[in-house]
Symmetry: C4
Subunit: 193 residues, 4 copies
């Protein structure tokens, strides 16, 4: 079956996730700059971080499905599994923000990042087994980013037990690594006759 | 008329439903693991259950419309009728969660599941009557899953009057039955010349 | 310019409108049937009415753009003008519901319905003037439904000043009139060589 | 890579942004006209202003991508950067509304408008550098609207420090300038062989 509706549905879910997170940014009761920075400063940073993560997942999903032409039931459910973990970002981001980066919320945020990464990896594996999955495997190559990310999430989770703010550092580093435009799929497509 | 816009609109509605349910997961006031499990434990389970149900409806809808090429006004409205009952999931899930699985909310959740199943069944019947509906009828075959589900919903509703948590068991069983990838439409399409 | 993205954007906006209205259905604090009917009974009816109205607009919009192939800037803005009034439905429905159908909220709801109808009518006029608008004009014919609806909205607004519940009657009647599948566009398309 | 999914995702995000802003219009507790005008009067005006701005961005984005056929990673991220600033409109609009146009919220709203304009300008620059970007550059021409808008935003921000309501005037003027249908892309497409 064609992947066009799977892509459209995923686009819809990711579009809603990335946008409703802003509903968790509560406006300050006072109308001053100090109220804004005091009440919304942390929220702005965590919102930006989660926005970038959802953007990364959308961008990677978009690249991945450039190489996938047919999806069976297993791919549909592996994709829904990924969307499930991504759909929890508004919740875990809100708790992280509202707690002003306390220990448990930071660890939970890291677990959410880790679960989404595992779900993405699982989706790749499921696609590898479909007809045409070979193309994705070739395009991804060694996939060092995909392998390094979970290690950094675990590092962040560990650091969060020491000092929550420190735990955010590896999460930001992973985001920066993926922000560098990833040309693997583009190069692969260009190299094909 | 082509079904492409009906599919796009349904994808949009289902994407919003599946995502805004997370807004009903309220973050705990304290920033500890015990607050999380105490206040969000039930909510996480009911969210997961409803997420899986919306995912099943999307997946089945997607398969169904692989076989439907034209939609008239009756199909549009039978589809909107289905979307109406699905759109109540965020409400009935929130009440189920907030009540920590009390009797009335569990029964209401079962009624919502039952109404959505009846609406889906009605949509199938309406499509059967259109030109090309014969293909869907052939692909679905005996449709034992579609016939068993309402029976299990009724069982769950009955059990909920005895012990609400017990009532959830048949609802989970139905979800598991449908989670097994359904290859009827794929097989039918593959069998066609 | 092609209308495909205008249709996709409108589908997205209508999908969000029809779905977020459910967020205005607040769950009752008690977990009993009497609390449900007391607190959510009116809300369910008004939600259903607004859901049907958004469904009607989507269905009519869908039929209309079957006949429109190109859109210029004026069509884009006439369409956004329609979406603006429709986007207020969650607000006016919530006030109607929360007031348990008091006078001012019922009148405001009627004004919203009227404004949306005028915006839809304006969109039709703007399309009539484009190249290809002649097809839509021919398909719509006398358009007695489109002409009767505003009269009934005005009647409902008038009645709401006497007795708010009575004012809802014409609003329900208009919805029922449009619910009858409208085959004008289908017939027109079938009649074309 | 094709731009169709970038357009679909942007449509989804813009559809959610333009629609969830209505959730910030809180219904008045009393059910009278005076309560409505007192509590929602400012909110209606700011909602309308932000609705028009998101509409303008959607319309311009739609025109721009009529001329862009391929998008690389840099275009994806420049587009996400634009969506990020637009996604803050529900927040900055709600603060502006809730403060009844106080100084800091008005300035913040202006900064949001300015940031979105800079992001849009950046997206144009990134597209200019891609293969095929020359077409967009030719179609846009002198782009006096794009150059005047930031100047007017700065003027509005400056005026807001004197008298917040006065600061809104240039923001309304920019919206009116862009509301005039922009035929540059249409003309360019018509002029091409």
């Amino acid at each position: 079956m064609s992947t066009s509706r799977l892509e459209a549905f995923s686009d819809g879910v990711l579009a809603v996730i990335i946008t409703i997170m802003v509903l968790e940014l509560h406006i300050p009761e006072e109308h001053t700059w100090s109220a804004l920075t005091h009440h919304v400063g942390v929220g702005f940073v965590t919102y930006l971080l989660s926005f970038v993560y959802v953007g990364i997942y959308w961008s990677n999903h978009h690249h991945m499905f450039q190489l996938v032409e047919h999806a069976d039931g297993a791919v549909l459910w592996a994709n829904l599994h990924l969307l499930f973990w991504l759909s929890l970002f508004p919740f875990t981001t809100a708790w992280l923000d509202e707690s002003k980066v306390a220990e448990a919320p930071t660890v939970l945020y890291g677990i959410n990042l880790l679960a989404a990464a595992v779900a993405y990896f699982t989706l790749q594996l499921v696609i590898f087994r479909t007809a045409g999955g070979q193309r994705l495997r070739e395009a991804l190559g060694g996939d060092w980013k995909g392998k390094l990310s979970p290690v950094l999430y675990l590092l962040g989770i560990g650091l969060a037990f020491v000092e929550p703010w420190l735990g955010l550092v590896p999460f930001v580093v992973v985001a920066l690594i993926w922000l560098v435009p990833d040309r693997r799929v583009e190069r692969y497509l260009a190299s094909q006759p």
